[in-house]
Amino acid sequence: MIKELIFMNGYGAYVWSAFSFTLISFIFLYVIIKINLTKEQDKFLIKFNLLNKSKIKIAKAQSTNRKILETSIS
């Protein structure tokens, strides 16, 4: 039963390599995009922490900035 699932009457190598390539591509793209997102969030946090009080007030007035801060910290 398990042998049949693996070898698939001689087509196993083709089927499993096609599915593996697809899943590896998914993981690769997800990791790359996640790393870039985290990098930009970290950059935003660093820049935000360097602002003085009055500039922090201006920046926090924008809802998107507040949301980025929330997601970056969590």
Partner: protein
């Protein structure tokens, strides 16, 4: 109408829904893989190699769909100069490219046991390869050009010209004698594929669509944070 596409409003949604999309994607993909690899029957002619269809066909459909969407958004951006449309189009490109590559590679793997060759300069395969080149040009144009006016024009033109290739891909099997068979699944006419194979195909298409949605949401947020980072410099 364009106010609905304001980045601030979209960012709120894109931040919230990511984890739910990831969760649903994992469930649908697991179901799809079980159907595609174990439950669905083998083909009377192609045997088990037909299972490659469940990753190859949805990938091709989604890469075509995403490029069509990019072209449409680019056209709207070209006419109405709506910046957010170009950010949406840019965020769609990475998943479109990866699905295009998956379609080509899995097609090549499927070709070996079915046609006896890894590659043929068949009209469908060649036009899909051209689509991949358009994806690459589109993504590279965003990286190469610094000035906003140039990058918007260049990317929009690449997407609009690239869209001319979409009907060629779609109808290549009807216009030329190719190794590919004509469409088995159609919205407007009768579908000739059996339900036992159509169901896993549709489940895998749903899973792949969810994955491209997830990547789009993450990439869109990245692009928006990049813009906000520049905004902090100007404060």
């Amino acid at each position: 109408m364009f106010k609905l596409f304001e980045p601030n409003k979209i960012f709120n949604i894109t931040s919230k829904v990511q984890k739910y999309v990831l969760f649903i994607f994992i469930i649908v993909l697991s179901l799809g893989l079980a159907e595609a690899l174990f439950i669905s029957p083998e083909d009377y002619l192609q045997g088990h190699s037909v299972r490659i269809m469940y990753v190859h066909v949805p990938s091709a459909w989604i890469s075509l769909g995403i490029f069509s969407l990019i072209a449409l958004l680019s056209l709207i951006n070209f006419i109405f100069k709506n910046k957010n449309f170009s950010i949406i189009a840019k965020s769609l490109a990475p998943s479109g490219l990866i699905f295009n590559i998956i379609a080509l590679v899995t097609g090549s793997i499927w070709g070996k046991p079915t046609w006896g060759t890894w590659w043929a300069w068949d009209a469908r395969i060649t036009s899909m390869l051209i689509l991949m080149l358009f994806y690459l040009m589109y993504i590279l144009a965003w990286r190469i050009y610094d000035k906003k006016e140039y990058v918007n024009k260049a990317t929009s033109l690449i997407a609009i010209f690239g869209a001319l290739n979409i009907p060629i891909i779609k109808f290549s099997v009807d216009w030329w004698s190719t190794l590919h068979q004509t469409s088995s699944v159609s919205i407007f006419s009768e579908t000739t594929i059996h339900a036992s194979m159509l169901i896993p195909l549709l489940i895998m298409t749903a899973a792949f669509s969810l994955f491209s949605l997830l990547i789009f949401l993450m990439k869109y947020n990245t692009e928006l944070i990049k813009i906000k980072n520049k905004g902090l410099d100007r404060l």
